[in-house]
């Protein structure tokens, strides 16, 4: 680290101490001695030299990841401990943060050989519940509904699984949920004063008071799905089906280079499948009946 580099911001998220030159919407300020991750402002290369994986907006190899968001910023994530950001003029802190605390940290977590699930996590009735699902399944809405019913938030959208203890835990992420106006209306929460994720979208950063800061062993993983039939459907998975859905709901699995990182992912997902029960909870796709879903969770957790 260069002596000239100044870091006015320090945060703790996903169990990591983060020093940053830029403010990050949603992350929780923290005081610590040793940083795990540095976020710097600086130039981001157009291309990686040795690309293993790529999509329209990103390139990656085992230790580097580049994301170019045309109207927002470019991000360069390397070695699991550094993110360089080159913001576009006029981009807001909220929108720069959206692709930082999401995709960029997802890549960083893979680089650190941890397992990020596309899931929100809540402590509810003293049980640690991981709620995985594809975009639009209702993870954040359900997480917030459980918080309203007395739960505490552990993570929204990305749940980083920690295998350092006897049982797998979820690393506390940060006390904020990204949530759509329609869901806020559904949960009777006003949008007044909330920071939008993007200026044009009716999607907001919702600060959550009840946030869990400790590692808790995961009691149950629910996969939140939708279907076009009436009523909730519940199915507990066994054996290889558990591994298959955990792979499917790994955050940004496609971004993992098909080399050592993928093998590492296989080992971790398998370990999780063996140790934790996994239940599919499918709801009608045009209905989010909070009461029924919370009851189904309570009865099956």
């Amino acid at each position: 680290m260069s002596g000239k580099t100044k870091y006015p911001y320090s945060y703790r998220a996903y169990g990591l101490n983060i020093l940053s030159q830029l403010p990050v919407t949603g992350f929780e300020p923290a005081v610590f001695e040793t940083p795990d991750v540095h976020i710097k402002k600086g130039p981001v290369p157009e291309k990686l030299n040795n690309i293993i994986n790529q999509g329209v907006l990103y390139q990656s190899n085992e230790s580097e990841f580049i994301l170019h968001m045309e109207n927002v910023a470019a991000y360069y994530v390397k070695n699991g401990d550094e993110i360089v950001i080159q913001p576009i003029d006029n981009a807001s802190v909220g929108e720069i943060s959206a692709f930082l605390n999401g995709t960029s940290f997802g890549a960083l977590i893979h680089q650190r050989r941890l397992l990020p699930l596309h899931a929100s996590t809540v402590i509810f009735k003293d049980k640690c519940l991981v709620i995985a699902g594809i975009s639009g399944a209702g993870k954040s809405t359900l997480a917030m509904a459980l918080v309203k019913e007395g739960g505490t938030l552990v993570a929204d959208d990305i749940s980083v699984i920690d295998f350092s203890g006897e049982k797998p835990t979820v690393r506390p992420a940060f006390p904020t949920i990204k949530i759509w106006e329609d869901s806020l209306n559904h949960l009777d929460i006003a949008t007044t004063g909330l920071e939008p994720v993007r200026g044009e979208l009716k999607k907001y950063y919702l600060p959550v008071d009840k946030f869990n800061q400790t590692h808790r062993a995961i009691n149950h993983i629910f996969i939140l799905n939708t279907h076009n039939r009436p009523g909730l459907e519940i199915k507990t998975l066994q054996g290889v089906d558990k591994f298959r859905v955990l792979k499917k709901h790994t955050y940004f699995f496609r971004g993992i280079p098909k080399t050592g990182l993928e093998k590492n992912h296989f080992i971790l997902a398998n370990q999780l499948a063996i140790k934790v029960p996994v239940t599919i909870l499918a709801r009608p796709n045009r209905e989010f009946n909070t009461e029924k879903i919370v009851r189904a969770i309570s009865e099956n957790m």
């Binding site: 999509g55 907006l57 994301l67 045309e70 990204k178 009716k202 279907h227 496609r254 009608p284």
Partner: protein, 284 residues
Amino acid sequence: MDDLKKIVWLASYPKSGNTWFRAFITALLHPEEPDVDINNMHPSTIASSRQLFDELAGVPSADLTPAEISHLRPLVLRRHAMESEEIIFQKVHDAYSILHNGEPLFPTEITKAVLYFIRNPLDMAVSFSHHLATSIDKTISIMNNPDYTFCQRIDRLNNQLQQNLSTWSGHVKSWVDDSGLPVMVIRYEDMHNEPIEVFSKAVAFIGLIKNRKEIETALELASFSRLKQQEQEKGFSEKSPASAGFFRKGIVGDWKNVLTKEQVKHIIDVHGPMMKRFGYDIDV
């Protein structure tokens, strides 16, 4: 496969025979399967799939503006073609369009061919109203609205990306006249009346070499009654939640039993020229 021309667009306004053809193609390409699983058909995703976009773009479309998504869609589809080892049969309900930056939404360089499915709008209106679970009059106004767009709400996450359908006539024109792509137009009514001939021509147009026996077998496996029976037994994931069933009657000319004179006139007043062009009687 170096050539990027890997995508066969199965393009249509909704409820015009697209799903029937997909079931047929699934049976044709997988003769080893004893049945067509309607919930796992070969061209499994629609071009407007959110998951397809998110995977290939690398960022969640949930954090992108509609303008950014439009701009990225051709690039995502291009990558879809680049990464595929085989021909992709890609269902699509969007009208063909040129984006603000001058690029086509469906790039020419990745297009192998277009099969455009068209159905008499009088029948289509009846079927579409069931699909949308709305009135015939509302459905007719949708068919007349150039700005009609699926999944347009911006206060929630829709299950698919936004798709502008244009008017019914505008949709036909966009693919058949404006796209400049190699298009074969397939009439739903001909699929019913002369299935072997019509499906054989479509198969030849997209460059597949199949004999008559193979086509007959695939048609039998993808027959309307079998698809409908399977939906009744197992459900169909593509059914709109509000409608009673995706495979309803599947017949030609049902509009005569359903539409009022005013509704028929309303459709013909707006879409008469396009109907006439594709052989649909407008002197009714």
